[in-house]
Symmetry: C2
Subunit: 409 residues, 2 copies
Amino acid sequence: MRASEIRALFAVASRPEVVSLAGGMPYLDGLPLDVIGEMAQHVIATRGTTALQYGSGQGDETLREQILEVMRLEGIEAHPDDVVVTTGSQQALDLVTRLFINPGDVVVAEAPSYVGALGVFRAYQADVVHVPLDQDGLVPEALEQTLTALSREGRRAKLLYTVPNFHNPAGVSLSAARRPQILDIARRHGLLVLEDNPYGLLGFEGDPVPALRSLDEDGVIYLGSFSKTFAPGYRVGWAVAPHAIREKLVLASESAILCPSNASQLAISAYLATCDWRGQIKAFRELYRERRDAMVGALAEHLPRATWTVPDGGFYTWVRLPEGLDAKAMLPRAVTARVAYVPGTAFYADGQGADHMRLSFCFPTPERIREGVRRLAGVISSESELVDLFGVVPGDGGTTIESPSPDLA
Amino acid sequence: MRASEIRALFAVASRPEVVSLAGGMPYLDGLPLDVIGEMAQHVIATRGTTALQYGSGQGDETLREQILEVMRLEGIEAHPDDVVVTTGSQQALDLVTRLFINPGDVVVAEAPSYVGALGVFRAYQADVVHVPLDQDGLVPEALEQTLTALSREGRRAKLLYTVPNFHNPAGVSLSAARRPQILDIARRHGLLVLEDNPYGLLGFEGDPVPALRSLDEDGVIYLGSFSKTFAPGYRVGWAVAPHAIREKLVLASESAILCPSNASQLAISAYLATCDWRGQIKAFRELYRERRDAMVGALAEHLPRATWTVPDGGFYTWVRLPEGLDAKAMLPRAVTARVAYVPGTAFYADGQGADHMRLSFCFPTPERIREGVRRLAGVISSESELVDLFGVVPGDGGTTIESPSPDLA
């Protein structure tokens, strides 16, 4: 199945009769749209010649100060000058990769990793080397081994890309105990850590774990986003980087887009200044926890032969299929049965992952989630019968999705 | 003077007591901000879950249809599928360059050229070869000669970058007669034309000249923008490209930003659907014509020893200084005298241009323009006296501005 075929399948999967457990779209119906609309009106009526004009390449200064408040919830202390506002954190990913990666350079990333980051690394012809994660996130020993092996081969990794909280797609988090260990290993091997953290505030229990950036100012580039905690439609994310890197990021961003949208930035700034954004995040957390419960409940009921992660936050669970099934080969049949997911191969640079699928519980209602898992169970059951009768049907392996369609965000 | 020093100077130049003839910011006070604010409110209140959500990587389909209407004013016939919406046309410039240019590849560009395009070409390590323009725009014979010479050296140019209408910074337009000639030369030399057209609808007299894209569907990538005809703060521009290129642009844009802002796109779409955008463009044309008149009137009165272009549209005039003066060396003294401009060197990849400056008449009022030129005349007069006394003071040549600060858009 080619990348374009996968895209065609997702086009079908967006039809209303299909339960999509594929997308990473946040659920926005809970937002106070009337209030947000009035705020937008007020921003333009009172500050229109700023909101509609070119702005600073680095981003609006007031917004950068407010971003510090948001990050303080995860223990990050920074200065507004350290922040670069970008067109979603995807643009920050692109700019960092552009600055650091030449063709053939090594990027170390979790196995599995966010499809959109892999797309960027591929675009800059990086060589992605995966390191396993487990229930507590990236495994320090495995990271150490991989870096040592690379250095023995005379190859030096430049970046460690990690999603430490409520991992996309794996649903796990890097434990507090492992955080200093990972940073220490990275430091010793001269590796810059790229901490991508869109979901950190969406934990279902307890307080946020301190960000890697809060433990190491010089070795970490931190990426944040309003896409999951507020709304992706403004396309506002940010990077926090050590001084010399941050200056280069601003120049690279000016070359790429001149400046981020003032209209978007001022709208978000007004939202943060006048709305109860902490309360909104709390409401999102409860909403997504209920959906997580629906998802893992339905999986336990309908997929006894599969295993899955039980995430403490975020949007995704990572399901291992019964022996012999291929998530990519099965996808067309699933879509025919009116349920969609993302096959695990999308989250590896090297064709692994056919035995996994990512299921997201962010967008559909609990009832739809249960219905989707029921449908999926029917598909898996038919596939399993075929496998039992005819043995393992080998998948075609290596095709990866060439671009992170927004459906997969 | 280093690039960072130039940036520092422009920071000073943004103070209110300085008349800035440097920036390319459109004048937005004439926009109906109340109406635009209410439209923004209405879009979010009625279509908020779309406006605030991820959207298509290629851009909103309704907006792409409306963009066709805009382009029809310059004779372009296209299909919505041909259009890719980007974060300002700067992002389209970046994506096209990313797709086509490997380090060392040749880009042919007018002498002078838009500073933001040169920044992108430099970022991708293109080798920019300048071709002269005159009152009728890019000179076909010079283009032919340059391409022939390049091919004799075994170097093939990949892209011809051109701003055919109301050129930034030169203020001239490519005549209708030359358009097919340029396209014919490009075709014969296997050169893709990158037509950057932010100002085409801002002509001061007569109808728009047909776009290059209207004469050649297969050999031209067209870039358009709402930044000058409506408002840059939404960061919405677009590219129109032949089918195979357009598909690659969408994938590259998804990798860079996932998708353009739905909030911005829906706001512009509502503006185009419900406001008299043609009337607004007409009002802008009249406003800018009045300022052009103030500019050239003041130049004639105060700068008898300089020469300049008299633009029929757009934002800029290109001034040649009296013999022996260096616009870059003079800039700090001009800023001290409370007037700013962009030295000509910013618009060349090779350090030429110290004898020129770009003056923009888009943002300051006619009165401020006259005051700015008066101040400039004082600075030039003092400089000229020094030159007359001590002879030509050689400039330092080659430093170019490394990034297109939004001040220079």
